[in-house]
Amino acid sequence: MWDGMINGMLTGISTTMIPTNIGMVLIGCFRGSLIGMLPGLGPITAVALMIPVTYGLEPTTGMVLLSGVDYGAIFGGSTSSILINAPGEAATVATALDGYPLARQGYPGKALAIAAYASFSGGTISVIMLMFFAPMLANVATSFQSADYFALMILGLTAVSAFAGRGGVLKALLMVVLGLMLATVGTDQTSGVQRFTFGSLELLDGIEFLLLAMATFALTEALSIVLKRDESSDSLKPKMIGFKSLKVTKKEFKKIAPTIGRSSLLGFFVGVLPGAGATLGSFMAYGMERNLASPEDREKFGKGSLLGLAAPEAGNNAASSGSFVPLLCLGIPGSGTTAVMLGALIAYGIEPGPRMFIESPEVFWGVIMSMYLGNVFLLILNLPLIPYFARLLAIPRNLMVPMILFFSLMGVYLITFNDFDILMMVFFCLAAMALRLMNYPMAPLLLGFILGGLMEDNLRRALMIYDESISFMWERPLTLGINLATLFILFFPILRSFIASKRRNSVRFD
C-alpha cells in the first residue's frame, strides 16, 4: 500500500509541477480569493463561474484550477467577513463573529493575517491527512458493485439533507428529489426514450449541468443582492481600509497554535462526512474551542477573540479539503462545491469514483498535491496583497451585479452557443429565487441533479444482476452496511432531539 501511495504522490508531484498546472493553481487561488471576497458570492458560485474556462483544458489542469478556486474562495470569504461583516458564504459566518469585532477594534490587518495563517495550517494539515486516507478508502471502494454505488448515492443525498440543520431535513430531501426529477429530463440513455422534453429539440440532451449551476447559484445570488438592497459593498470606501500591522506576535502564535491544530483535525473529519462541508466544520471548531477555552478566554469570544477567529478559519479550510475525500474516492460529493466539481469531472469524460484512483491517477493525485501548493500560494500571495484585495470590496453593486449576470450568462452561452440556454437560465433562476424565498436550500437540488443519472443507471444494473428483486438492499452485506448508515444519518437528528427533550423533561421533574 505504501509503495502505491509513494508512487501516487510522485505522480501527483510530477503532474502538479508542470508549469501550466503551477500557473493554474496560482490563477485559481487568485481568482477564488477575488470572487470569494465579494459579498454574497461563495466557493460554489466561484467554481461554477470558472467551469466554462476549464472546458478547453486537460481534465487534471481543469480540476487543479477548480480546487484552487475553491479554497481561494473560502479564504476570500473571510476577508469580507472580517472587514465588513458580510460573509461571502455560510462557511465564513463563524469567522465574522470574532474577526469583525477585532477589525473594529483597529486590528483589521492582524485579523486578516491570523485568518491567513489559520487557513494555511488548516488546509495543509487536512491535505496531509487526505494523502493518507483517500487511497485507503479508494482501495476498499474498488470492490464496490452497482448495488453498493446505488446505496452510497442514497447515503450521500441523505447526508446532505441530514446536515441541513433544524427543521431543514425534509426541505433538503424535497430539493434532492426535485434535482433527481430534473435529471430525468431528456433522452433516457438506456432505452433511447424521450422524457419530459415536450417536443423541444433543445431538451433532447437534457438540462446542461453548468446551466443549472449558474442559474441556481450565480444568477440568484446576484438577484438577491438587488432584491435585498444589500449595499454592504457600497458602504466601504477604499480609504476606510487602513492597516496598522499584519504582524502577529510570538505570544499570540503560541496561543492560537493548539487551537489551529485541534480545529484542523476536527474540520477534516467533519469535511469527510458527505454533506457536512465547510460550514459545519467552521461552526463545530468554533463551538469546540469555546468550550475548551479558559473562563477568561471564553468571555472574549464574540468580542474579538484570537482563538474565536483562528478556530473557524482552520476548521473551514480543513473541512473544505476533507470534502474531497468522498468526491475523489467514492464519486460522492461532500459539499455543494464538490458537487459542482463532480459535474465538471463528468463533463471532462472522467467517471468519478474509486476507479478514478486506478484509471486517472494523474487527476486523483494531481488534485491532492496541487492543494498543498495552493495553500502555500494562498499564504504567499494573499498576505502582502490583503490591503489591495480588500479594495475590491469597494466596487459598487451597480457595476458588480450586471457584471456577475453577464459572466454567468456568457459562461453557458460561449459553450453551447444556443440562445435558448440564456432563456432557460432565466427560467431556472426565477424558479430557484422563488424556492430560496420560501427557505428551500439549493445545494441538495444540484447534488440530486448530478447524481440522478448515475443513480438510475446503477439501480437498473443492480436490479438486472439480482433478477429484478430489490433484495440486494439487505442481502449484500456491504450494501446493507451502507443502508444502515443512511438510516442512522436520517434518523439521528430525530433521535437527538428526542433524547434532548427527555433530558429537559427529567431536569424539570427533578
Partner: protein
C-alpha cells in the same frame, strides 16, 4: 401561511404534475413487460415528492426562519429593479441571435448599470466595452472559437 408550507404546496402540485406527465412517457412493446422501464424512476420520484411535500405540510414548522410568511419575507424588497434586470436578461437572450454577441452584450451591460442607478457614462462605457471586446478576442482569436455575427448583419449584406 408559513413560507415553507407555501413551498411544500407548490412542490406537491409540481410532483403531481410530474407524475401525471410520467404516465405519458412512451414505452415500446418489449419495454412494457420489463420490470424497470423509463417510467420507473419518474414514478418513484413523483411518489417521493408528494410524500415529502405532504410531510412538510402536515408537520409543524420548526425552523424559525421558515415560519415567517412570504409577505413578511418579501416586504421591502426591491422588486422593480429585479424585474427590470430579469427583463433585461430575457431581451438579451432574444436579441443575441439578431444583433450579435458584441452589440447585445455591451447593450445588456449598459442597461444593467443604468437600471441599478449608474449614470456616469464614461464609467459605464469603461466597465462594459473593454470586457466584452476582451472576451470576444479571447474566444475568437486565442481559442479559435467562431462567434457568428448577428442575423441582422447578414441581412444588411455583411459577410
Amino acid at each position: 401561511m408559513a413560507r415553507e408550507k407555501v413551498g411544500a404546496l407548490v412542490m406537491l402540485l409540481f410532483s403531481m404534475a410530474y407524475g401525471l406527465l410520467a404516465l405519458k412517457i412512451p414505452l415500446s412493446f418489449l419495454a412494457q413487460n420489463e420490470f424497470f422501464t423509463s417510467r420507473t424512476m419518474p414514478y418513484a420520484l413523483a411518489v417521493l415528492g408528494v410524500l415529502i411535500a405532504l410531510l412538510i405540510l402536515v408537520f409543524p414548522t420548526t425552523d424559525p426562519e421558515g415560519k415567517r410568511s412570504l409577505r413578511e419575507e418579501t416586504h421591502g424588497m426591491d422588486w422593480k429593479t429585479a424585474i427590470l434586470l430579469v427583463g433585461g436578461m430575457i431581451v438579451y437572450g432574444l436579441t443575441m441571435k439578431w444583433i450579435g454577441f458584441i452589440i447585445s452584450s455591451i447593450l445588456f451591460l449598459l442597461v444593467g448599470f443604468y437600471i441599478l442607478g449608474e449614470r456616469r457614462i464614461k464609467r459605464m462605457l469603461l466597465a462594459s466595452i473593454p470586457w466584452v471586446v476582451m472576451l470576444w478576442f479571447i474566444m475568437s482569436s486565442l481559442l479559435g472559437v467562431y462567434i457568428a455575427p448577428g442575423e441582422l448583419f447578414y441581412m444588411l449584406g455583411g459577410l
